[in-house]
């Protein structure tokens, strides 16, 4: 397996694991408060929809000329990667609230309970919430699987990495029988943002006609370079946060501000 393929597998695995943790929380909430069978039906339907999207768009993407594919995919990955990285940097610096799986679980469970008694048969609410949760969290992963996979002509490898991440998260969820609140989501999102941004600029520049010094080995400089730059930005942000504008930290984590975009 080449370095680029390892990068593909790691990026897809981490991105998928993060989204799977968030989807698991929603499914657990409606499953425990409403109906497990209906919630799992929603999961199955959403998984099928995502598989159809990947199967339909994968061949279409791989049929594009490699130059066009690289500049389009590189640009899209870079836009995605910078979004992930920006949010992860803001969370690391304490300027954005970290994702709290226990809080999400509590909110989803309360919303489900507020609807009243459980129906005896099929529960449309549990199905719809599970379906929506898995589909929305999964779309971003499907997009990453498609773009990463198509660019290296390894959609199957990307899909396998995504499937492995889902299986790991499901196994962890079954073992814990609770939302996976201890998963270092922001660290994983940070890593995904670094990888998507690095691969995005590498492929985008190549697609636009540039040649990287050292060819594929340039990624060995780009990935640590983005990581270092992002950490320097976090460090500078932490130093520049005005004390008066910061709430007391809720835990040992960095201080956090509220009212930032979700």
């Amino acid at each position: 397996m080449s370095g680029a393929e390892i990068g593909l597998a790691v990026s897809v695995f981490l991105a998928c694991a993060v989204e799977a943790v968030e989807a698991l929380t929603i499914v657990l909430a409606v499953g425990t408060t409403r109906s497990w069978s209906s919630a799992m039906s929603g999961v199955a339907a959403a998984t099928l929809a995502l598989a159809v999207i990947v199967a339909a768009l994968g061949p279409a993407l791989t049929s594009l000329p490699i130059g066009v594919l690289r500049v389009v995919v590189g640009g899209l990955l870079l836009i995605f990667g910078l979004q992930w990285l920006r949010k992860a940097i803001l969370r690391s610096a304490g300027l954005k609230a970290k994702h709290d799986e226990l809080e999400t679980f509590r909110e989803e469970s309360e919303a489900a309970r507020a609807l009243g008694g459980k129906p005896a048969g099929f529960d449309g609410y549990a199905f719809a919430i599970s379906f929506k949760g898995v589909l929305l969290e999964g779309l971003e992963v499907a997009f990453i699987v498609l773009t990463f996979g198509a660019n290296q002509n390894r959609v199957a490898l990307a899909a396998a990495a995504a499937a492995a991440a889902v299986l790991v998260v499901i196994a962890a969820g079954i073992a814990a029988r609770a939302p996976l609140a201890r998963v270092p989501e922001n660290t994983m999102k940070f890593a995904v943002g670094v990888m998507l941004s690095s691969f995005g600029m590498f492929w985008g520049a190549e697609g636009a006609g540039a040649s990287w010094p050292g060819g594929d080995a340039a990624l060995l400089g780009l990935i640590p370079g983005v990581l270092v730059a992002a950490n320097i930005i976090v460090w500078m942000l932490r130093r520049s946060i005005p004390v008066s504008g910061v709430e007391e930290p809720a835990s040992a984590e960095a201080p956090r501000l509220t009212g930032v975009d979700a």
Partner: protein, 70 residues
């Protein structure tokens, strides 16, 4: 809002997200890379430089919003 409009808005939101300036910057940087590469001049440096600038500007905008809201 029609279904087509809703779909287009959804795709825009999914791809571009909440920072369209960064997305525009990426497109412009790729265009600049293509122009420089076409002139047979080394163009690999454009994207790393653009990413650094875009990331810093995007964080600055978000951080200002955060401190205003905080």
């Amino acid at each position: 809002m029609s279904r087509v409009q809703a779909f287009v808005l959804g795709v825009w939101d999914f791809v571009v997200g909440d920072d369209w300036l960064t997305a525009l910057g990426v497109v412009l940087a790729l265009g600049l890379t293509a122009v420089i590469a076409k002139a047979s001049v080394a163009a690999w440096w454009v994207m790393p430089l653009a990413v650094l600038v875009l990331l810093v500007l995007s964080i600055r905008r978000a951080a200002r919003g955060a401190t205003r809201n905080g």
